[in-house]
């Protein structure tokens, strides 16, 4: 009987049902789309922020203080500690290895360039270099990953070749001697003997100290300085999660004996891609090093990510609110419009419970149908949004499906409950008389 009444109700006024369902579909589609985006946006934006470049710097545990001005280390080549190039592959063997998006070693060598007749800094680095990883694979990385804002005219040096790239300020100063295709002679220290001849393949503009230096492949700098297989510092670009209270405690626990993490806290800290835990993991695979977060980058990134995250959740909340409003308003209107029907039912002896049950069941059925359609529409919408904002579509989250259905059902029920409660007080006679 109940089912038949319900079926009747659906069959009799399909147009009105379509309207209600449409409101549900649109509302739930928006809810799904915003939820999908909000769930994914943290990861996406974190990746986007890697366009700021490296966020970790690894240096030898300092025996001498680096004498570094404007990004150039003026220590003589025989002073201070070096790191081993052969160990770099271990960076891709830490717990969060997939979050290490790139790393670039640097070796600064004070050098003499015959063509300019002056001392200059030689910066040995990688642009694109294949690093053997302990698990037997290769990982291609270099300044292309950690310093994406470097601009080259011409082309980068080939790895290990006798080629070099000139900083733009230096090239401007000696336009003739340091032009593309010219060969220059570079020797270590202040002497003109020995050294190597390098072909200029490009002019690089970095907006930083490298503009006044000569960039060469790392292996060339190592040979010129007489430190094969060594480098001074490595910049690491890692995908991280914004720091929170735990991240801060974890970081302080490394240096401060008074702070002890409980084992669960430690596990949670170690297994979260905080910049401090990734730094800690790097320092365990590269003993004898110090790992600093480049705070300028890391902190700005963390702060903006946290803010945008909160912002999006608020917007999502607003979307959910608007969706709820749309659904509830439609449900309420439906009940109000059908006062006459309610009057007839009650006049024929239906109890309030039966009337309420029929209406609620109808709303819930509609909500589930509308919510299901809305979920798929919303998933498509999220795909489109992800595509247009981040260039890759957001993948639908099936976990949201039951959530959206439940949400739709609950909202529809709440929306019809208030008018239904009022309907319980209807006196059939009054309604049937048409007042």
């Amino acid at each position: 009987m109940f089912a038949r009444l319900l079926g009747e109700s659906f069959a009799r006024n399909p147009r009105r049902k379509v309207l209600t369902a449409a409101a549900l579909v649109i509302g739930m589609a928006v809810a799904t789309a915003t939820l999908t985006i909000a769930l994914e946006v943290g990861d996406r934006l974190a990746r986007e922020f890697r366009s700021l470049g490296a966020n970790l710097l690894v240096t030898p545990e300092s025996d001498t203080l680096p004498v570094e001005i404007g990004g150039v280390d003026y220590r003589p080549v025989d002073e201070g500690a070096y790191l081993n190039e052969a160990d770099l592959g271990k960076l891709k063997a830490i717990f969060w290895r997939h979050n290490i998006l790139g790393f670039t070693p640097f070796l600064d060598v004070p050098a003499y360039v015959s063509e300019t007749g002056g001392a200059t800094t030689l910066i040995g680095t990688w642009y694109r270099h294949e690093v053997p990883v302990p698990d037997g694979t290769k990982f291609e990385t270099g300044a292309s990953a950690t310093h994406p804002w470097w601009k080259i005219s011409g082309r980068w040096f080939r790895d290990g070749a006798d080629e070099c790239v000139i900083g733009s300020a230096l090239a401007e100063k000696y336009p003739a001697a340091l032009a593309l295709g010219k060969a220059i002679h570079v020797a270590a220290g202040g002497v003109s003997e020995g050294g190597r001849s390098l072909v200029v393949t490009g002019i690089v503009s970095t907006g930083d100290a490298e503009d006044n230096a000569v960039l060469v492949p790392l292996s060339v700098a190592q040979e010129i300085s007489g430190h094969p297989g060594k480098f001074r510092q490595v910049f690491v670009s890692a995908l991280t999660k914004p720091a929170d209270a735990l991240a801060e405690r974890g970081e302080r626990a490394q240096t401060d004996m008074n702070i002890q993490l409980t084992p669960t806290e430690y596990d949670r800290w170690f297994c979260s891609p905080y910049i401090s835990s990734i730094g800690f993991q790097i320092s365990t695979v590269l003993p004898g090093t110090e790992v600093h977060a480049i705070r300028r980058v890391a902190e700005t990134e963390g702060r903006i990510l946290t803010r945008v995250g909160t912002l999006l959740w608020i917007v999502t909340l607003a979307a959910l609110g608007a969706a709820a409003l749309a659904v509830a308003a439609t449900s309420a209107t439906t009940v109000l419009e059908r006062r006459a029907e309610i009057g007839v039912m009650k006049a024929l002896g239906a109890s309030n419970a039966l009337v309420g049950g029929i209406f609620l069941a109808e709303q819930v059925l509609l909500a589930i149908a509308g919510g299901a359609i809305g979920f798929f529409v919303g998933a498509g919408l999220a795909r489109f949004l992800g595509e247009s904002v981040f260039g890759t579509p957001a993948s639908p989250r099936l976990i949201l499906f039951p959530v959206v259905l439940a949400l739709a059902a609950i909202i529809a029920m709440i929306g019809s409950l208030v008018p239904l409660r009022r309907a319980a007080h209807f006196r059939p006679a009054v309604i049937l008389r048409g007042e």
Partner: protein, 380 residues
């Protein structure tokens, strides 16, 4: 008469109107809050990017400084040139600026980089520094210095300790005011006020570079850098690209994301209000039948209803906009720790939007022309 009818109608059907008003008010609130938020976001996020610190560096053109073994200094420029130009340019966008003179002095016989600067500016220029101890608030304080974390460890210095710096045959005495945790190369340096370092190096009025922090979008920074470059043709003026390059793209994406979500919500809210209004209009058929049978012309009847709906839209819109402004104020506090001031242009925009939406919702009233009074009154 007209308005009396309108208000009679409004008062007559409170139940249904309640739903419509709730829909309109909350719709307008959501829309105005999001519009406010969206307009405020770009501003706030740009400020966040500025917290990266200095974004323009002025330095002498000359190429790499010669190898400095102990006592030499890289190429220099006169302080008054740079400072003079910085004072001439409009100060509105200038957040902070400071000249720097780097020398390599010896402390406890260890070579260490000493940066002479205006320490009162460093709190703004180096916003990401964490200082244990105190910042130095005056650029004339020549007795105290800040020490980088690594220097402090290497030289076993703590806050309040004395520090003696030697440069050739001159020396200077400082007390350590604070230890800087900069998370960068600044950790390897000692920071003292410019005058003192110039005196120590016997380089009066000379500086090695100047750092400038300009507030505003990447475009504003680039413009400012261009103006500086024009005023200082003999020096190199370079915007720090690392941030500028990424900022535009990042901001664009965040903005696009929020705008698209706001747009979705806007459409949804408008549809919701539209639906409610349409339902309300259809309910009015019976009243129309009555009016028509009493001899009201159809244009007058429709006019009455449109006025009713318009009043609803305007009142609900106004209330909702005020609510929304409060909402966005709260959101600003929640997200950015500073309030988002309501934009005046949001008010008329939201109210107009609500009126348009409610009037559109009343479109089914057109069908009222076809209403036959007799049928309606008979109850069909």
């Amino acid at each position: 008469m007209f308005w009396r009818l309108v208000f009679q109608l409004l008062r007559g059907s409170r139940g249904r109107l309640a739903v419509a008003i709730i829909a309109i008010v909350s719709g307008a609130a959501v829309i105005s809050a999001l519009l406010n938020l969206d307009l405020g976001v770009q501003n706030k996020l740009t400020q966040e990017f500025r917290s990266l610190g200095a974004n323009i560096v002025i330095s002498p053109v000359s190429g790499a400084p010669a190898q400095i073994s102990g006592a030499e200094v890289p190429s220099l420029m006169p302080e008054k040139d740079v400072v003079g130009v910085l004072q001439q340019l409009p100060s509105a966008q200038l957040a902070a600026a400071a000249p720097y003179l780097y020398i390599v002095a010896r402390a406890q016989n260890i070579p260490v980089v000493v940066a002479g600067t205006w320490l009162d500016q460093s709190q703004k220029l180096d916003a990401t520094w964490k200082v244990e101890g105190n910042w130095i608030a005056s650029r004339d304080d020549n007795s105290r210095c800040l020490v980088g974390r690594n220097v402090a460890r290497r030289l076993h210095l703590a806050v309040g300790n004395a520090l003696e710096l030697h440069y050739l045959d001159r020396s200077a005495h400082y007390s350590v005011a604070g230890i800087v945790d900069a998370g960068g190369t600044d950790d390897n340096q000692i920071f003292a006020n410019l005058r003192a370092v110039q005196a120590l190096a016997n380089l009066p009025e000379q500086i090695g570079l100047a750092q400038v922090s300009v507030a505003g979008t990447a475009q504003v920074v680039a413009d400012y850098a261009a103006r500086l470059a024009a005023a200082l043709p003999q020096y190199q003026v370079r915007p720090i690209r690392q941030v500028a390059e990424a900022e535009g793209a990042l901001l664009g994406r965040i903005r696009l994301l929020i705008v698209s979500m706001v747009l979705l919500i806007l459409i949804l809210t408008a549809l919701c209000v539209l639906g409610t209004m349409a339902a309300l209009a259809m309910e009015r058929r019976k009243d129309v039948g009555l009016m028509k049978s009493l001899g009201g012309s159809i244009s007058r009847i429709v006019g009455i209803f449109l006025a009713e709906v318009g009043v609803l839209g305007a009142a609900g819109g106004l209330l909702g906009t005020i609510l929304g402004a409060a909402l966005s104020y709260w959101m600003g506090l929640r997200v950015f720790d500073t309030a988002i001031a309501p934009r005046w242009e949001v008010f008329p925009a939201t109210i107009a939007l609500m009126i348009v939406v409610t009037l559109t919702g009343a479109l089914p009233l057109r069908m009222l022309g076809n209403v036959k009074p007799a049928e309606i009154l008979r109850g069909e």
